[in-house]
């Protein structure tokens, strides 16, 4: 648009009392948001309250060069005021378009109303509602687990309706496609563990035991935990977002209406895929972590790869591998269950999908660490 030379007149109003008639004269351009005289409503209210003798308010808009809805809001407010004070409005000098709009706006009866409650709440209310929500959420998870259990039983009996191709797709997405990030992070964690270990072990002349430290730590816990965290952020979030969006689009309702169980059709393939891929990824992660440690051992302590691997092989037992794989299966189940549950219980708005996805990642991460702590103690007590 070409820049027009501003010839706008400042919007102005003048109210004059002539006997029982209040003459409201408006002039200028009332489309300007910066110069809009916002005090007009309060001014008219004060005038009407102060002069009970007013019978008629005559609105003269013949000098108004341009107007929009902002001025109309003032006329609507004036109309409400006049109604309240039992004063009539003379609209003879108002534009026809404004009178039509005024009628359109005023002819609508409020069919329903709701007071603005605001977003503020007391501390006690917040604590109470959060506690109630937490209990309700636990109930939802238990109900979801029960449904998953039934669906799993149906699957074992060969009665579950789901597409095996979906399982393969989930395995590809959560397994093969996650290899680069799993490799990088576990290699780095192995290297970090090795470096910190090297610093400490050097003090005692026990550098060669770096293989013991990295090998056992990665095999028993660290590889499984790091991989699970990656899976929670990557695949768990994806599950929640996918299922949440399907819920918003009523795709889950469509499945139900076809007599198909969303748990069998959508959740089972994701759970199976994730629980099968997690142990494989964890074993792979162990190797990457051990190689990370080997790099540090060679670079910092001048320990050759043969020497390092020899120590690792002697230190790591099958029990350690059993513990790591068991943990990874449990973590896989946690990530899949939480991701799918959050998606299935998602609300029907874009905001709810975001909240579900965030909640899936945070909840899964917390539960992974809690369960890791419990399993560590448990395996320790059992002497495994």
């Amino acid at each position: 648009m070409s820049q027009a030379v501003s010839t706008k007149l400042k919007p102005q109003y003048l109210s004059q009392l002539k006997g029982s008639v209040l003459l409201l004269q408006l002039s200028g351009d009332w489309t300007c948001d910066i110069q809009f005289p916002d005090d007009i409503d309060a001014e008219l209210q004060n005038t009407l309250c102060a002069h009970q003798e007013i019978d008629i308010v005559q609105v003269d808009m013949t000098q108004v060069t341009a107007w929009n809805s902002a001025l109309l809001t003032s006329i609507v407010s004036l109309n409400d005021l006049c109604k309240k004070h039992d004063v009539s409005i003379d609209t003879a000098l108002m534009p026809d378009e404004m009178i039509r709009l005024l009628k359109l706006a005023l002819n609508v009866e409020a069919r329903d109303s709701r007071k603005y409650t605001g977003k503020r709440s007391t501390f006690l209310f917040t604590v109470g509602s959060n506690a109630i929500n937490a209990v309700a959420e636990v109930g939802e998870v238990i109900a979801f687990l029960r449904n998953v259990f039934h669906a799993s039983m149906n699957m074992l009996r060969g009665r579950a309706v789901y597409r095996s191709s979906d399982t393969w797709l989930v395995m590809q997405q959560t397994g093969a496609e996650a290899l680069p990030i799993v490799s990088l992070l576990n290699f780095l964690v192995g290297a970090i563990l090795g470096y910190i270990g090297a610093m400490q072990l050097e003090k005692f002349g026990a550098e060669i035991y770096i293989g013991d430290m990295v090998g056992v730590a990665m095999t028993r816990e660290i590889a499984a935990i790091i991989t699970a965290i990656i899976m929670a952020g990557r695949s768990g979030a994806a599950f929640a977002a996918q299922l949440g969006t399907m819920k918003v689009n009523e795709e889950i309702d469509a499945l139900k209406s076809m007599g198909l169980s969303p748990i069998e059709f959508l959740v089972l393939p994701r759970m199976i895929g994730m629980m099968l891929m997690m142990p494989l990824l964890s074993v792979y992660a162990i190797f990457m972590g051990v190689f990370g440690g080997a790099l540090v051992a060679f670079a910092v302590l001048n320990i050759t790869l043969e020497q390092y691997l020899d120590v690792v092989m002697k230190a790591v037992t099958l029990n350690d591998l059993f513990v790591g794989i068991t943990m990874s299966v449990v973590f896989g189940a946690i990530v899949a269950v939480i991701g799918c549950q959050k998606g299935m219980s998602c609300g029907k708005t874009a905001e709810a999908v975001g909240a579900s996805t965030t909640s899936a990642v945070v909840t899964a991460t917390v539960i992974i660490f809690v369960s890791a702590a419990i399993m560590t103690v448990l395996f320790g007590v059992l002497g495994i």
Binding site: M1, S2, W67, T73, A105, D112
Partner: protein
């Protein structure tokens, strides 16, 4: 560089679409589109499903760049609209939207409001917040005045009292009305509607048609409506184009009430006569 061309004849064109062509995934949807939308028109873009009606509207509203051609908007129309200027009486300059720079496009966008097919309301905001969003972000009105304007717009579409509801708490028809209120929030002189009656029952659809007519007459806005609802077309339109899927261009242009009998194209007559009231 943007370019302008002047029209000094007695036309009252607000929007001129010139040589526009669009494609999707390498497939041509429409080509050689040439038509004008006049001041105070309720202009219908009609055609069968998949003919490119919504794609054309998206190109006209700056959401998708066309492959060829451009859409020209009358310069200073916002101010002329506010000052009740009859475009037939003045010299007109038109600015091509897609040839313009980012700042100019932003400026041009203030001339129109868009109602999307499914309402496209922000689910995390109340109806009042939905309607007032653009006012809050782009004007200097006081918060109180903005709330009043937004409430007025909701009242104009028959939703007085629903200000603090969320979109998920109201029906689809009401969501469409809110979407119209949101499109009108800035008092734009041009309104675009994508399938406003789609999914509505006949009574709600009729109410919506009446509302559009009332808004056109009282606010003097120009409307471009994408629809294939024949009841609505005959109820509100005074000008239209028919997009053909096979020919991939406009095969009819004019008042649908005349096209139904006078159009040379049999397909257009057949399309329109299905909904013609005897």
């Amino acid at each position: 560089m943007s370019r302008t061309f002047h029209k000094t004849d007695d036309s009252s064109a607000v929007i001129i679409v010139e040589d526009m062509g669009m494609s999707y995934d390498g497939q041509i949807i429409q080509r050689d589109l040439n038509f004008a939308v006049n001041q105070h028109d309720i202009f219908i873009i009609m055609g069968n499903s998949g003919s490119g009606k919504s794609t054309l509207m998206r190109a006209m509203t700056g959401l998708n760049r066309p492959d060829t051609g451009d859409v020209y908007y009358s310069c200073d129309f916002y101010e002329r609209h506010n000052n009740n200027v009859d475009l037939r009486t003045v010299e007109k300059t038109y600015q091509g939207y897609w040839q313009s720079g980012e700042a100019m496009r932003h400026n041009m966008m203030s001339q129109f409001g868009v109602m999307f097919q499914n309402g496209a309301l922000f689910s995390s905001m109340t109806l009042l917040e939905n309607v007032s969003l653009r006012l809050v972000e782009t004007t200097h009105f006081s918060p109180r005045r903005i709330r009043k304007i937004a409430a007025l717009k909701l009242a104009l579409v028959g939703l007085k009292g629903f200000e603090h509801y969320y979109p998920s708490e109201i029906s689809g028809g009401m969501q469409k009305r809110v979407s119209i209120a949101r499109a009108m929030a800035m008092d734009p002189p041009i309104l675009f509607f994508d399938e406003p009656s789609a999914g509505l029952d006949p009574v709600s659809s009729k109410q919506l048609d009446d509302l559009l007519l009332e808004l056109r007459d009282s606010m003097g806005v120009t409307m471009v409506v994408v629809t294939h609802e024949l009841e609505s077309i005959f109820a509100i339109a005074n000008n239209s184009i028919f997009l053909d899927h096979g020919e991939k261009t406009v095969i009819a242009h004019g008042d649908p009430k005349k096209l139904v009998n006078e159009c040379e194209n049999e397909q257009v007559r057949a399309f329109l006569s299905r909904g013609k009231k005897s």
